[in-house]
Structure formats: C-alpha cells, structure tokens
Amino acid sequence: MSTILVQVVVSGLLLGAVYALFSSGLTLIWGMMNVVNFAHGDFVMLGMYTAVMIWTALGGGPWASVPAAAMLIATLGIASYFLLVRHIMRGPMLAQILGTFGLALFLRYGALWTFGANFKTLPDDLVGHSFILAGIRFEGARVLAGVVGLAVTLALHLLLTRTAIGSRMLAVSEDATAAQLMGIRPQRMQALAWGMAGAATGIAGALIATFFYTSPTVGETLAIVAFVTVSFGGFGSVLGALVAGLVIGVVESLSAYLIGPVYKDVIVYVLFVLVLWFRPQGLMGKA
C-alpha cells in the first residue's frame, strides 16, 4: 500500500472513532427504549457550538470545552427526556417521529437565529501542530479527537456491560415492568441513559469542532452518519457502533480520495439503504 493510501485510512479511522462516539449515544437510547432521536445530529451541533463559544468568549481549548459540552448536552438530554420523550414514547409512531423531529428543527433554527448562518472554525493550532510519524502526517486535533473518541466509547461500553448500573439499564430495556418489580426505577434509568447519551454526544461535538467547520445545519449530515453507524452496528450495541463507526470513517475517507469529495456522502447513504434493506437488524445485530 502506498503511503498516501495509509494516510487516507488512518485519517478515516481517527474520524471514525468520533463517529463511533456520537453514534453510541444514539444507539444507547434506541436500544434501551426503541425511540429514535431525530434531533441527535443537532445535539452534536450544540456540542460544537459550545466549543466555539468557549473559545471565542473565554479563550478556552478542548480541555475546557469537552467537559462543558458533556455537561451541557447531558442536561439537554435529560430535559428532553422528562419534558418530551417520556410522554411520546407510548404514543402513536407519527407522534414519536414528529416529537424529536420538532426538537431538531427547534434546536437547528434556534442556533441559526442565535449564532447566524456563517461557518465558524477554531484556530488550526488550538490542539497543537501536526507531526509526521513513519511518513504519515498527523493533525493534533484529529489525533486528540480520535483517541478521546475511542476511549470514551470503550468506557461507555464497559459501563454498560460490566457495572451494576449497566445491568440495571439493561434490565429496564428488556422489561421495564419486571425491572420495576426488582426495585429499579425505569424512569430514572431512562433519564440516566439520555444523560449519558447526551454527554457522549457533547464530547464528540466539542472534539469535532476542533477540526471541522461549525454551522447550524451541520447536524443534518451528522445525524445521517449516526443512523448509518447505528444500523451497521446493530441497534443498542455500543461495541457495534464502535466497529461500524471506524468502518464508515474509512469508507468515507477512501471514497472521498478515490471517487471525489462530493461522493463520500453518496456512498454512505447508498450503504445505509443497502444495510436497511438486507439486514434491518444491523450487520452485527442479533436477528
């Protein structure tokens, strides 16, 4: 493999780790309560604006903006759960879709109104300069995003599979009534899931803002990436989202390099439709 191809694959993997992180938020909620958050991409977008605001107002880098975005979007997630999602969960499907879609429009155009339509970018050297290792060029921001994305996604996976709180959440997702009889409060667990999903999404947003432009409508594309990742990885599986995120990052980079940047989204959308068609339970999901 030529060096440039390795370069493309490496940047795809780094990007894919971030995709995995914000998709794990979506998959957590989806798997746990069978609710699709159509506003998920806009949660990422608000995480990105948090980073932009912290830089422009306080001059803080990712060390400040990542925790801030995590807390802010976690709060937003919990608020959305209590004010909206809790009520529409059992309603007709149209109401479920409309509810989170309305939230998406509200957040997206609220951001447009507040921050304007202009693209905002953080300074290139905010995270440190790029360096060359074994002939491959690494950008500081992307390396940080990739490493943190990978670490937080893995941590989330371990939290869900290896701890008591994770078991409780799993119990609620399998049978809320039975879990309640065992002394678990389903609403508390579901709110916690929204909080955790929000935190993961906020972190991902703050990281993406360090190397990507921030605009009010950026969430639209990111939401579709998250849908694709989750449907690849299986609904509810954080580990699945991790593998799928990495695959999609590489596929995007490769198709941008081999076919042309315009077609990277096209390839991902086509993959999405194919997966939904042939394996609606996800590539790694249980049938």
């Binding site: 309603g91 499907m93 109401a95 879709i97 879609f101 309305g102 639209e220 439709v273 068609w277």
Partner: protein
C-alpha cells in the same frame, strides 16, 4: 343535519369567492394560493403517511421530480412547464416503485430513516448534475409566451388552478377512504401482521398508496414551478419540503380527509407572516416556531387538531386509536 348542510354550502361559497372577497389585496390572494398548494402536497403525503401509516420523510424526492420535470420540459424542449407535469407524475410513480419495493418492507422508524437517506441522496446527486443546472438550479420562462405557460402576475388564476387540483385529490382520497383500499390501508396501519393474517396483501397496497401519493406530490412540485418559475436542489429536494408535508398533515390530523388542509391553513399564514414581519433574519425564527409547534402537537395532540372535534362524540375510531401505538 340541515345546519351542517348549510354550513357546508357557506364554506364552499366562501372558498370559491375568496379571491373576490380579498380582491383589493394581492398579498391575501397569494396567501390563499400558497395555502392550497401546500394542502395539495400534504394531502398527497396523507395517502401513504396518514391512511397507510407509513411515515415517509422523503417525499421531497417526488416534489423535486415534479418541479424539475416541469422546468426541464421548458429548458430543453421549449414547451410550457406544465407539460412536464404528466412526465413528472409518471416518473415519480416509477421512482416510487423503485424506492418503495425495498423500503416499504421496513417498519416504523426504519422506513422513515430510509426515506430521509434516499431523499438526501437525490438532493446531493441533483446538485452535482449539469443537466439539472447543478447547485444553481433552473428557471422557467422569464416572460410568458402564452396562456399555457401559466405565468400570471395576479395570484387569482393560481388560486383556482390549485383549488381544482386539490378538490380532485380530496375527491379521490375520499373515494379511496370509503372503498376497499381504504379499509385495507387502515387495517395495515393498525396492525400489519393482523391485516396480513386476514388475507390483505399488505405489501402491495402499501406500494399502491405510495405510488399514488408520489404522483400527486409530483403534481404539487410542477404546480410550484409554474407559480415560482424556479427550482434548485434545496427548494426541490430539500428535507424541509418533506418535513412541511408531514407536519401540516399531522397538525390537522393525519389519516383524515381535511387534516392536511387544516394544517396548511394554520402553518402557511404563520410562515408567511413571520417571514414578512421579521424579514431576512426571521427565516430562522419561523422554523424555531415551527419546531416548537411540532413538539407541542406530538406531546399534547398526537392525533391532530381535528381529533378535538371527535372528542365530543365518542365513536369506534377512538378504540382504534389506542391500539395503533406500536406498529411493529
């Protein structure tokens, strides 16, 4: 009953005479035309999204096909744009079959997401297409060459054209609603599995509904082009086009004959008013309000405004509402 009859006659006369009533004001005449145009799109969506319960969030594909067919007919063949409407409708039915056969197998959210992805795919492709004018889009005849170009300064002719199309569409929907297909679609919406077990070929009827819905959405797109004379990827295939159709139908009442019209009567004036009062910077605020309204409907009125009227007389339809919660 006679009071209801009288009310109906008064309403019909008011609708027919609307342009005369507001004769002095071009703004109001235009608003009337826009409400009707939006109602055509939302009523077309209602066939598959409301009656059959398949929530497509990608109907902009068909709207865009209709609009682009009209403008392409003008640009490359020199014919009046409206001559492209039948082409757009036929093409839409074909595309609906291609999209529908795989995606209609998906249930619930999966179908909605697949339709979003397909619509985004088409939007991205259309903006790279030289033939369709790329990201700049294409324009219709700058100066009307004859009556058939349907290019009028006054909005009144559009009002009557749109009214005729909407009346035809609602008549057709009403016929479906009362016929065998209407029963099939409602059965599929309530529980596809139960419908199948009773011998309804669910897949086939969902596809029929989808193709019919696509044809009329394309017609709405062609009509849009004759009035606005211009289309680009965002105004043809943009996700907001799809969202507006869904929201108008849901606000009034999805799966009800007049639901989309009621939704359009509320949302179109709201959008036009906030655009004209808030100017350019109001564009964002309009959709903030839109979003808030949608959230409120979903939260407090999941069956739409028309369900408020139903509440006074408890009927069999209430019983069916409680079971359509889980479509899977």
């Amino acid at each position: 009953m006679t009071r209801q009859r009288l009310l109906q006659i008064v309403l019909v006369v008011l609708v027919l005479a609307y342009p005369l009533i507001v004769a002095g004001s071009p703004v109001w005449a235009r608003l009337g035309a826009l409400v009707l145009l939006a109602a055509i799109g939302a009523s077309a969506w209602n066939i598959v999204g409301g009656y059959a319960g398949q929530v497509s969030v990608g109907h902009s594909v068909f709207f865009g096909i209709g609009a682009y067919s009209a403008v392409v007919t003008y640009t490359y063949l020199g014919l009046p744009p409206i001559a492209g409407a039948p082409i757009g409708m036929a093409l839409s039915v074909l595309v609906a079959a291609v999209i529908g056969v795989p995606t209609l197998k998906l249930s619930g959210h999966y179908f909605s997401m697949a339709t979003i992805a397909v619509a985004e795919l088409v939007r991205v492709l259309s903006s790279t297409s030289e033939f369709l004018g790329g990201a700049q889009g294409l324009g219709g005849p700058p100066v009307p060459r004859g009556v058939l170009d349907l290019s009028f300064i006054s909005a009144t002719p559009y009002y009557y054209i749109f009214l005729a199309v909407l009346a035809g569409l609602l008549w057709l929907t009403h016929a479906i609603e009362r016929g065998r297909m209407g029963f099939y679609l409602r059965a599929i919406k309530d529980s596809e599995r139960a419908a199948r077990s009773l011998g309804v070929s669910a897949g086939r009827y969902k596809l029929y509904a989808y193709m019919l819905s696509a044809a009329f959405t394309a017609l709405a797109g062609s009509l849009y082009l004759t009035m606005f004379g211009f289309v680009d990827p965002e105004s043809g295939f943009g996700i907001l086009i799809s969202v507006k159709m869904v929201v108008m139908a849901a606000l009034g009442g999805a799966g009800q004959l007049f639901g989309p019209l009621v939704g359009a009567l509320i949302l179109v004036p709201l959008e036009e008013l906030s655009n004209s009062y808030l100017g350019g910077q109001g564009a964002g605020l309009t959709f903030v309000v839109y979003g808030a309204i949608i959230v409120i409907i979903a939260r407090f009125l999941p069956s739409g405004l028309l369900s408020l009227l139903d509440r006074r007389r408890p009927t069999a339809s209430r019983a069916s509402k409680t079971v359509d919660g889980h479509a899977d």
